[in-house]
């Protein structure tokens, strides 16, 4: 979950806005009188969509989470298997 958490920490999520995400810290977001931001207006006109797929290398957040969870589970299971293998069951029977 580390990677997914890192992604989440950046504020990126599917359907969000890359331009807003990449804005330098402290920089304000211009808001028009109608309440829309320039980012919203720009994203609707750019040829390359600023949607999730590009930001996540083609993977959705769910995909990232699924991969990370599976890798984490595998690591945990293998580590536990090593602990199992080191167990001395005969030793358990020695008072």
């Amino acid at each position: 979950m580390v990677l997914a958490s890192a992604i989440a920490a950046t504020g990126c999520h599917s359907g969000g806005n890359v331009a807003a995400h990449l804005r330098p810290p402290g920089r304000s977001v211009p808001v028009a009188q109608d309440g829309s931001t320039a980012a919203h207006r720009a994203s609707s006109t750019l040829t390359v969509p600023l949607q999730g797929p590009a930001r996540y290398a083609g993977l959705s957040l769910t995909d990232w989470e699924s991969i990370d969870q599976a890798l984490s589970n595998a690591q945990s299971a293998l580590a536990q298997s090593d602990t199992d293998a080191s167990h001395d069951e005969q030793g358990d029977t020695t008072p």
């Binding site: 990677l3 804005r23 211009p30 996540y56 290398a57 589970n73 595998a74 299971a77 536990q80 293998a85």
Partner: protein
């Protein structure tokens, strides 16, 4: 073990059983250092030793009950286990839990009057040799879980390779992303092969009584899965590289609205 069966156990037979297992459960009379001459404990002489052995055996059995409960929970909650593996493991763990619980009940009912120290030793040997909770059952569960989890990750990445490639294409095929993608495909292919080399049916066929003679599948599966996970870790690193390069491309080519010279924003305002 029933009381009737306990009576039938001779001290000589118990000694024969206990010696190979090491210094376990009173192979000799603790006070004299000589073997017991019958299946009955001399009154009072071995009482402290009996209590010590009994308590140790109870503790060992209860630890196994707890481990089996954890394995049951792990199998039930594992979302990446295949249905057939989950079914097989559930059956194995349930049978083992039933057997250990029966043995625990027998030992809990034991008293110095109906059970000899040698008989406690025989129960201890049964606990180990007939169940192998740690060296067989636990490893079967954890190796199978690892194999299925890795298969899930491999399948997930493979099924998304076309989308990843498309994202790189949209970004203009940055060399670093293309290189990372090529390595990603290579690593996932290796991982898939490695995970496949972990022969889970053979792992599940290992039996407590056959151990350690039939340990081979457990050892080879651990080795194959470990290598495959290393490949998957590298593949995950490639994914991060691709993501960062593509994101950097977006940042360069599609800067934030205040930085863009495009008239589309203003025209839309």
């Amino acid at each position: 073990m029933t009381t009737l069966r306990r009576v039938a156990v001779s001290a000589t037979a118990a000694l024969t059983v206990l010696v190979p297992a090491g210094a376990s459960y009173a192979a000799t009379n603790s006070s004299s250092g000589t073997p017991p001459t019958s299946g009955q404990n001399p009154p009072a002489q071995n009482d402290a030793r009996w209590q010590e052995d009994h308590q140790k055996l109870l503790s060992d059995l209860q630890a196994r009950v707890q481990t089996l409960a954890k394995l049951t929970t792990s199998v039930n909650n594992d979302e990446t286990l295949s249905p057939q593996d989950k079914s097989a493991l559930s059956g194995l763990v349930a049978n083992e839990t039933n057997g250990i619980n029966q043995l625990l009940a027998t030992v809990q009912a034991a008293t110095p009057q109906n059970t000899t120290i040698a008989q406690l030793g025989a129960d201890a040997k049964e606990m180990v040799d007939n169940y192998r909770v740690y060296l067989v059952m636990s490893r079967q569960v954890h190796l199978t879980e690892a194999a299925d989890a890795q298969t899930t990750a491999e399948t997930k990445i493979e099924s998304n390779e076309s989308k990843i490639q498309a994202a790189i294409n949209r970004a203009g095929n940055p060399p670093d992303a293309v290189s990372a993608y090529n390595d990603l495909v290579h690593q996932v292919a290796n991982a898939t092969q490695g995970t496949g080399n972990a022969h889970i049916p053979a792992v599940l066929a290992v039996t407590p009584k056959g151990y350690p003679g039939d340990e081979g599948p457990l050892t080879s599966a651990r080795s194959a899965l470990g290598q495959a996970r290393t490949d998957l870790t590298a593949a995950r690193g490639d994914l991060v590289t691709i993501r960062n390069v593509v994101a950097q491309h977006d940042s360069t080519n599609h800067p934030s609205p205040g930085q863009t010279t495009s008239g589309t924003s203003s025209s839309a305002a």
